[in-house]
Symmetry: C2
Subunit: 332 residues, 2 copies
């Protein structure tokens, strides 16, 4: 390791806590939250961060232009920087930085890859937020989303931001547009989120491929009515309106076919008092929103029951909206 | 006229100001505002009421089941109740009322039919609000929109509510869904509205027919990003976001072809500082939103200039959002 060598000496990193001309030698530990993209009717434009699960990553700044990635988990993900989502994100940041810097990264994933809970986004987002912190926060959060989108491209072939933006900003985020990127944080009333992750594989690229390239105008009108309703429900703290608007007439009817138990989970959860919910991202995880924690726990029992009956392994979470996004949890 | 006979006597109209068992014998005069449907990206789900122009109508309750319509203007509109938009709306109200009642209606239209400024909605809405007032406000505003939608069906063949809801409620309205009807009033910051009505004919039915029945999913995603952005901009009083979101990639590119001068008006208005705008309803009127009255006046000058150059007759309005909807202006 050569992470103690001072490469800059030009004072540009004067904000760095190391105070030695730029290179912050500390090992920084960050947590990066799981995220639910789409939020039912907001395909590609809405996302929400969760308090549980979260990835943990350790990042150290280097004064040589290398990116070294290690995994402290058993997911056997690639470590070559350009094939690794965190690596691809850091390469973009490195290029924007125009300095001879590098990173040592250790990733401990608690968000299972392929869960539909923004696992790749957590890695990319965690890496760039940590890197930016070590560089003295020279980049804006929007910049970090832009860098991290290169990680999403490695993961799914598409530069989307509906997991990344909530992962970095926290809360519920509207991504009005990608080009140019327009990120709008939305306030929302307290919500409990129940998630079930059935241990089946749905590849994001497959889930994208089965979608029709054209949609009926009348369906699109229903969809944008619901999106406008959902956003209004969030901003006005109107739980009923949130519930009425959680309807997807375009994506869910196609994608839910890939998820056994989906219809039963959704119907029974709503009967138990959940506001509504649907597929998390491209699945296979399913999420439901509830006003009360008690309802969210009932929904968890329903989810467990459905997947036990089907005989599919699963994991559940009862959690709430994460308001901070990627967080520095330790520095040494 | 037999409007002095008491038909009910069953006390159900006890709220009626006449106090004689039900029939309110007064002649009531209402004003019904023009409306801008769609608001660029919110096709079929958003609408806004304007302070100018407004229709004026006089309505009297009768104790016989007839609807008599007269016009105090020169538009030569049908007077047979079932072919007249106000008549069709009143027939629906009459049926829901299940009483032997009728109405004398005199309509003085200041909103030119076929302008794209909700002329038919103003007639339908004005009639049912006036009738409801005379009946002691026994129906909710949602009920009135439902009755008035029968008028819209007469006018354009489609039961839509994006002019009616703002005409009756005032302000900016989201119509999340038609079946069942879900009307959501949205707050918004003060806005000035400049409107130009070029005196050319664009039939709503034709403007609907030229639209493709299918749209690209990627265009639909851009559209619902903009709708979510626009609604958020209104609710958060964010003028910049309103401006960025006033973009329609689906309807405007097709319909604007029917309106000479459209592109020039839009481009020059935005260059002069307008937040944005587009086709009002199905056209041919064009509206632009501005933060400042001064900008709205500049936009008016631009509109005048463009249509004078083209040699098309036109009328302009510089106005603001009407917050009250249909209003009782006189009772005798």
């Amino acid at each position: 390791m050569s992470d103690t060598k001072n490469i800059s000496g030009n004072g540009k990193h004067k904000d760095s806590p190391s105070g030695d001309g730029g290179i912050d030698r500390r090992l920084i530990k960050v947590s990066a939250p799981a995220t639910v993209a789409n939020l039912v009717c907001g395909f590609d434009i809405l996302g929400m961060a969760l308090n549980d699960p979260q990835d943990v990553m350790e990042v150290r700044l280097l004064d040589e232009p290398v990116i070294r990635i290690k995994h402290a988990d058993d997911y056997d993900l690639p470590v070559e920087p350009e094939k690794n989502v965190a690596g691809a994100a850091l390469i973009a940041l490195q290029e924007a930085c125009q300095k001879k810097i590098g990173f040592d990264v250790v990733i401990n994933k608690c968000i299972k890859p392929g869960s539909g809970l923004g696992s790749s986004a957590a890695s990319s987002a965690g890496a760039v937020v940590a890197a930016n912190h070590l560089l003295g926060n020279i980049f804006s959060k929007e910049d970090l989303v832009r860098f991290a989108m290169n990680g999403e491209k490695v993961a799914s072939g598409v530069k989307h931001a509906d997991n990344l933006a909530p992962c970095i900003f926290g809360g519920i985020i509207l991504i009005r547009a990608i080009l140019p990127l327009d990120i709008i944080p939305l306030s929302a009333p307290p919500l409990f989120v129940t998630v079930v992750h059935p241990q089946i594989e749905v590849k994001t690229s497959d889930a994208r491929q089965i979608l029709r390239k054209e949609v009926q105008l009348k369906s699109a009108i229903m969809q944008w009515g619901n999106i406008a309703g959902l956003v209004t429900g969030f901003l006005k703290n109107d739980y009923d309106l949130i519930g009425r608007s959680l309807e997807d007439v375009i994506i869910e009817p196609v994608r839910s076919i890939l998820i056994p138990g989906f219809d039963e989970v959704k119907m029974n959860s709503k009967e138990a008092g959940a506001l509504g919910g649907g597929i998390s991202g491209s699945g296979p995880s399913i999420f439901m929103l509830s006003k009360e924690e008690q309802t969210a726990r009932k929904v968890e029992a329903i989810m467990k029951n459905v997947f036990q009956k089907i005989g599919v392994e699963f994991k559940t979470y009862v959690t709430s909206i994460n308001q901070t996004g990627v967080k520095i949890v330790d520095e040494k």
